[in-house]
Point group: C2
Chain length 339, copies 2
Amino acid sequence: MAGGIGSRFWPMSTPECPKQFLDITGTGRTMIQQTFDRFDGLVDISRVWVVTAQKYAAIVARQLEGINPQHILLEPCMRNTAPCNAYAAWKIQAEDPEAVIFVAASDHLVTDPAEFRHVVARGFDFVRPGNRILTLGMRPTHPETGYGYIEQGEAVGDGIFRLASFREKPNLATAQQYLATGHYTWNSGMFLWTVGTIVSEIRQYAPEIAAQMDCIAPSFFTSAEPEALAEYFPQCPKISIDYAVMEKTRIASVLPAEFGWSDLGTWGSLRALSSRDADGNAVIGDGVKVIDSKGLMVRMPQGKQVVIQGLEDCIVAEHNGTLLICKLSDEQRIKEWHD
Amino acid sequence: MAGGIGSRFWPMSTPECPKQFLDITGTGRTMIQQTFDRFDGLVDISRVWVVTAQKYAAIVARQLEGINPQHILLEPCMRNTAPCNAYAAWKIQAEDPEAVIFVAASDHLVTDPAEFRHVVARGFDFVRPGNRILTLGMRPTHPETGYGYIEQGEAVGDGIFRLASFREKPNLATAQQYLATGHYTWNSGMFLWTVGTIVSEIRQYAPEIAAQMDCIAPSFFTSAEPEALAEYFPQCPKISIDYAVMEKTRIASVLPAEFGWSDLGTWGSLRALSSRDADGNAVIGDGVKVIDSKGLMVRMPQGKQVVIQGLEDCIVAEHNGTLLICKLSDEQRIKEWHD
């Protein structure tokens, strides 16, 4: 899934080139490239699919060299993750009715890819028999209030549990209770299923989406597809796969895992995952000098000369000539400050 | 005088293009151009002289269109203001022994040029008879600790006083006492004298400088001048005109004046003189959005998109791709942070 606009990561992330296509972490690989790299040895590039917006088609093809152009699915408009997953599932089914699917956002961070591959391989084994949906629950490292949580039920396999319930982003006290029980994990939005299972579940719980997909399907892989897509896809309701299917299905399980995951939703989450100096400053950019400062998240272009002195708990970020300086504690308001 | 390097105004001011050659105030004219403009109708461009460093020769000629190239005096090295004034005086005397001179830094700000011209005209009248040195004392608007002060003695003419003493930069309590007496003004470093008077005073109080000038003088306006200058000028002691002459001379007077002067020595002084919003933010740069912030001095390139949120009493300045963010209260340390 690569259709987001990453508005909280402004000014790095812009509608023209959002977060998933940027080297946010300063490693030399963009987020979508890192996401792709993560499957090295597990999934061949011939079986990678990307759902994105029409305007990002070229950038996806450029960043994921070797991807099958037929596998870059172009949404004509944003309809949240349920129509996105439906479109991918319907189309994958047309190519390979036996496919086992792993779904992930293209702009999340994983710092332990080896453990990630190990977990995903277990997940594939679990869902391959069919009639199973598996979500990866991230073992919480702290009482984060920026994520939804998943409540585990009884064990249904080796380290896998029945998915008892989804919980909205909690307040701090509730998050602390969740951690204390040991039965809650963060909802990462990573799912595994066979293509037959997810198509069947969408038909059952989101029939209005399934109906649009059935209208588009006859045109798949033909020159008529864009037109059919433009006609029917926008008629899908705007709804997440969590609401449309996951909260209703009776066949969902959760696999609690820990591989250094973050949705990298904000500058603060990047800071939390970056290496920091003794004063808690995370600095990306080789020309940055930080003096008398604490708790900063700094992201400047390579080579740019910068002196920052006397700041605390701030974001200082520049991209494409646009500069943001703000309090980390106000980062949820970043969206308000730009067009 | 245009030989300084303006190190406290980094990153705008750099050794390659220091403060006097920059449009610090965002008006479209550089500081040296504003200094020149200030004499409009009072001094013809044919009688303007600039003392600067060799590397700034071209930029002076470019910024002061129409200046006599013979009047751009090039110091081979920095020797503070006494050798600078001696060189100018010796050479002006060679061209016009009757000259009446006004000496000023090229990088100071005056916000009331009409009053400035009025004061300078009075000063010219006062010193024209000869054997008089006049300094312009700036009436203090606040107990500034960043300036030296001049103590007035008895009146010697219409609004002109004997110069009783120079005082080094005071602490706050002393500065407050100075203001309470009404007899102290800021030392602006602006002087008026006839060329004969200053040459005579330098001969008396700084004979080691006069000796070097006498060695250079035979080559004035010839192709041998640069060589003579390179040989003798560096042998001058590094000393200011204040120490070398003004504190010793017995013929100095002070004319207290008020024309919105600032040495514009620091970002803080620019802020104090700029128009500010209701929260005390002075902003130069048409792409800057300031939110939830107080007491800022912001200077960004035109057109650059910037959001600043949640800062107090800071400098945010960018020039030629180099960015500075620091506390205004620490601006005296700016020199330490760059090469």
